[in-house]
């Protein structure tokens, strides 16, 4: 008797759950689609602020940056993407030596956007911005100098 009862109960349970499933999918069928039609919606495209697109070095109005050429980012980078070139200048008044950045080279093509460099930087001199359209025809164009002077 029990098995007969179970037969019918399982039948109705199964039928009910199937109908619930169909209701769920039908609701999703009419929901707004999440696909972005990318090249067409470039004007209205919203990219999250924290998206890691390109490594940049923010400059102020007089083109000054905060980099002290300590090289911690270069050490932190797992891929050898960053090369910090610097010269040592001697302050004539005090006689103290100071490293001054000459070129901050960043190879975008080998960057894996791990953000280790940004975390290593003691002065917040570098950060990632969210620009992501980087296609170029030669790899050499991906190597960029980040400091302006």
């Amino acid at each position: 008797m029990n098995s007969i009862k179970e037969y019918f109960v399982s039948f109705y349970k199964g039928l009910k759950s199937l109908l619930i499933g169909m209701k769920v999918t039908l609701r999703i069928f009419f929901r707004k689609k999440t696909t972005e039609c990318y090249p067409e919606n470039r004007e209205t495209l919203v990219i999250a602020d924290r998206f890691r697109g390109t490594l940049t070095m923010p400059h102020d109005a007089e083109d000054n940056h905060k980099c002290i050429a300590c090289g911690l980012c270069e050490i932190a980078c797992p891929n050898g993407t960053i090369h910090v070139e610097s010269v040592t200048e001697v302050n004539e008044e005090t006689g103290k030596k100071k490293k001054v950045l000459t070129r901050y080279m960043y190879d975008h093509g080998s960057c894996m956007f791990c953000q280790m460099c940004v975390r290593a930087c003691p002065h917040d001199a570098i950060c990632f911005d969210n620009s992501f359209e980087h296609a170029v025809f030669t790899r050499a164009k991906l190597v960029k100098q980040l400091n302006k002077k």
Binding site: Y7, M22, T25, I28, K33, T34, T35, C37
Partner: protein
């Protein structure tokens, strides 16, 4: 309502006016074959496009939208890709059977396709055991699938084909019984008569409870019969790569693909014909003005509208339910659908005998 017999009669008299009878008949055969195959290919393309769009919408995607407006040219592009692909022969496969199998599958599908009454006066094969013939020819496809699996010399293809065999033979039973239920109600096996007898209300309304149960069972069994999800374990992309058609390429694969989609169309068309009146407009006895207005909608639209709805339901099944295991599949058929079907047939007989239908 426009009767397509006018057009066919006109073509017939035109051909006979300048050709001897035999030659006119031959030309008519060729014309019918040409129309049938063109419709077959076009419907397959439309179904592939529809499937991709509907599947996408069920997953909150947009689906194909790059090739042509709304991606309408996408299936055409895919078809061209398929046509120009190389046909690859497997080593140690049974070459003859390997090449014959796709033709068997597609022939059975085209034969079943030919039986469908598309519109008033637009029937190709119409004789007194039409639905029986349709059932018979659509079952030939299983032979092709088994041969394809066997001749590929590939374990997974063979497993897929054997599963397909078990599944199709089981569910053929349900399809047969539901069709029998409706034949009891209509009293005829001729498809045109079945459609005509629904002029005063579709069978799903006149046959009420048993017709509705039969319709649900028919849809489930039909989905299983066409090897579509959730009953797609003969193909089971994630387990068997593609089942019986793994080793096929180019147009041979295209034949299987085409036949699969057209079988879905045939199942949907039979469901529309048996339960929802085929090309017959919605008639409510007593509402003469309403019936007149409904008659102005061409019968072709009625038919394709109903079929599109059936196909949507079948696709809805596919993109909702997870795939069944083989034991669950067979249990569903033999422990649930078959007993319900037999009781339902009994109920229908009682209703028809005592005249309890509308």
């Amino acid at each position: 309502m426009f009767d397509f017999a006018v057009v066919t009669q006109w073509v017939d008299t035109l051909l006979r006016s300048f050709l001897p009878d035999q030659a006119a008949l031959l030309v008519e055969f060729l014309l019918v074959g040409l129309c049938l195959l063109t419709a077959y290919a076009l419907i397959a393309l439309a179904l592939i496009y529809g499937e991709r769009k509907i599947c996408a919408w069920f997953q909150c995607r947009l689906g194909p939208n790059r090739v042509g407006p709304y991606g309408l040219i996408q299936p055409v592009a895919d078809m061209f890709k398929m046509l120009i692909k190389e046909l690859i022969d497997m080593n140690h496969s049974d070459k003859f059977l390997f090449r014959v199998a796709p033709f068997i599958v597609i022939i059975s599908s085209v034969l079943a396709f030919g039986c469908i009454p598309f519109a008033k006066g637009l029937e190709i094969l119409d004789f007194n055991v039409g639905i029986f013939f349709l059932l018979a020819v659509s079952s030939i496809g299983i032979v092709g699938i088994l041969l394809a699996g066997w001749s590929s010399n590939n374990k997974f293809s063979l497993i897929g084909a054997m599963r397909s065999g078990a599944q199709m033979i089981s569910y053929e039973l349900s399809i047969g019984l539901t069709i029998l239920t409706m034949v009891v109600l209509s009293g005829s096996m001729q498809l045109s008569t079945i459609v005509e007898s629904q002029a005063n209300g579709w069978f799903i309304f006149t046959g009420h409870i048993p017709a509705f149960i039969a319709f649900v069972i028919y849809l489930i069994a039909g989905t299983a019969e066409t090897n579509r999800g959730p009953f797609d374990l003969p193909e089971a992309d994630s387990e068997l790569t593609a089942g019986y058609h793994t080793e096929y390429s180019g147009i041979q694969f295209g034949f299987f693909y085409l036949a699969e989609y057209l079988n879905m169309f045939v199942v949907a068309a039979v469901a529309a014909t048996l339960f929802w009146g085929g090309w017959m407009p919605l008639h409510i006895p007593g509402f003469d003005n309403f019936n007149m207005i409904m008659d102005y909608i061409p019968s072709l639209f009625w038919f394709f509208g109903k079929v599109a709805l059936m196909i949507f339901i079948i696709m809805w099944f596919k993109w909702t339910f997870p795939r069944l295991r083989i034991d669950q599949l067979l249990r569903l058929e033999w422990k649930y659908l078959l007993p319900i079907n037999l009781i339902n047939l009994m109920l229908m007989v009682i209703i028809v005998v005592f005249g309890l239908h509308f």
